[in-house]
Amino acid sequence: MNHIAPGRHAGVYHYDEIDRRFITERVEQFRQQVTRRLAGELSEEEFKPLRLMNGLYLQLHAYMLRVAVPYGVLTSTQLRKLGHIGRRYDKGYGHFTTRQNLQFNWIRLEDTPDILADLAEVDMHALQTSGNCVRNVTTDQYVGAAKDELVDGRVYAEILRQWTTAHPEFTYLPRKFKIAITGSPNDRAAVRAHDVGVLAKRNEAGEIGFTFYVGGGLGRSPFIGKLIKDWVAEEDFVAYLEAILRVYNQHGRRDNMYKARIKILVHEMGAEKFGAEVEEEFQALRGPKYRLPHEVVEEIRANYAPPPFETLPATSLDFEQKKAANPDFARWVAVNVAEHRAPGYAIATISLKPAGGIPGDASSDQMDLVADLADRYSFGEIRVSHAQNLVLAHVRQDDLFALWSALEPAGLGTANLGLIGDIIACPGLDYCALANARAIPLAQKISARFADPERQRAIGELGIKISGCINACGHHHVGHIGLLGVDKKGEEFYQITVGGDPTLTTAIGEILGPSVTEDAAVDAIEGLVNVYMEKREGGERFLDTLKRLGPAPFKERIYAAA
């Protein structure tokens, strides 16, 4: 197999021969399984769990392949390969998801072994993107670049990737298991909305440790992760997670899939008792076998060494002049660009949410362009955010104008990060076999209604999240405004929630009232925004005004006319 080395300075883990042999063997295993299925040697009942273990679902129009993007970090080589797969085996595009992965919607079963072989060439795969195992660990899309970061989450996400890959004890859990980790006090990874949320931090001595939240999750029964341990030392990181998973594996319900997630166990058992059982297990298994040696951590950390930043002044006259001369560029910088830890550098988010567009979709041509721009301006590295955008994490301030100038004509220069147009939406009933209602058309109508960039900026921070069914892949529960698609006697309706919060002050949104039609939902969003704009005080965000006033005035505006 012809392995292509990832970008030299890109912050990805560099596979060794063992990793590559394992992935290659899995591809060949699946090739044989597909051959046996097509020859009738395996029934559909026998084959279905095998294909799901390779990320291959059957959706409404075709098979869907979910490709793992470990903790959302890609090299330009990998992104180009995804573009190539989209062009050759799909219909020229892919969909970035809230799990920082990529889904192809039009895959043929008989092509899948070749696609997986193509992915393996660039150290990628689709393992653990389905099934009752530990799924792709997600993290902060600004990792390794953010000014507020205390600990590099990639290091520990990679340790978890290695620990969980083909872990025999955790391959058949009661249900799927999602872990998110952040190393910044400003949570950008929605950690408390996950089965396990990890907050990496440092103590006064500068040592690294972890706070564990357990039992969070959205879906049918949303719960906020409960704090069960404030400090776990680095050397015990794996041991403590192993203890959590063992307690879950032992007590999690296998008789009812709707009650099988760890959130139900923690809720029914109580966080204190669950934490006590984990502690007991932790103390029992703690020891040399489960100790995470510092030298192993450092070896992995070496993969994420900072790229060779130039020594630059903190501010650039040229950059300031470009902003002054070009208001559209200045707006994009103000909205989509975040502070970088290195002087003279910036973090640029590429919005995949043009007004009226499909959230998270990127064409193969766009993937190629972003890969080229990453090579030119960001050390050959790209991140996928859980909000379905792409990030170039290490761009010189002086290169931002050239970057934006290249993005804009390709439909990638929209300035709406964190604003009302930056909508999270699952594929919904346009693609998904589980959905009850469409999510994308509603997102398109809302972003078109609020297309005016100045109006968006005037409204300020406002996260709308849309799910096409109660499984909540669109994270509607934690949207400042959430929209859940429901089927009412064959018609699509949308339930509106307000007050959700995905950050460390996590909150589940409150249902405002009866569900409404798609058109009425767009009007309802306008009504909610208008109430906020009329009643906000000082620098209040939508959430602040909602907290101060409660939902009553918002509810009244939407339902008064009914």
């Binding site: 009738g40 409404l60 129009h61 075709a62 079963l109 346009d430 959905a435 469409r438």
Partner: protein
């Protein structure tokens, strides 16, 4: 008037297919066999499932409701309308693109 039709996804590529009148599979709802009698539909469904598995042709096979209005066939549920046509947000893709 609502009648029933039988649908599934083709094994080798996942494409949406419909059971035709001669027990073969077709790609367009216009060519699908329609059943006015629910019992006959259920019996045909059982046969179709067994035959499709035997021949490794289609999977996830089930019945769905179709309305016939002005001679045109339209699935009752949005899910089946989208399967029969393609994504409503990408009318350049799916069966609708070829129409």
């Amino acid at each position: 008037m609502a009648v029933k039709a039988i649908t599934g996804n083709r094994l080798r590529d996942g494409v949406v297919v419909f059971l035709g009148p001669d027990a073969g599979w077709v790609e367009s709802l216009d060519g699908a066999a329609l059943f006015e009698d629910a019992e006959a539909a259920e019996a045909t469904l059982a046969d179709a499932k067994a035959k499709a598995e035997r021949e490794r042709f289609a999977v996830d096979i089930y019945l769905f409701d179709v309305l016939i209005q002005d001679g045109r066939r339209q699935p009752v549920k949005m899910r089946e309308r989208i399967r029969a046509l393609g994504p409503s947000v990408r009318t350049d893709l799916g069966k609708q693109a070829a129409a």
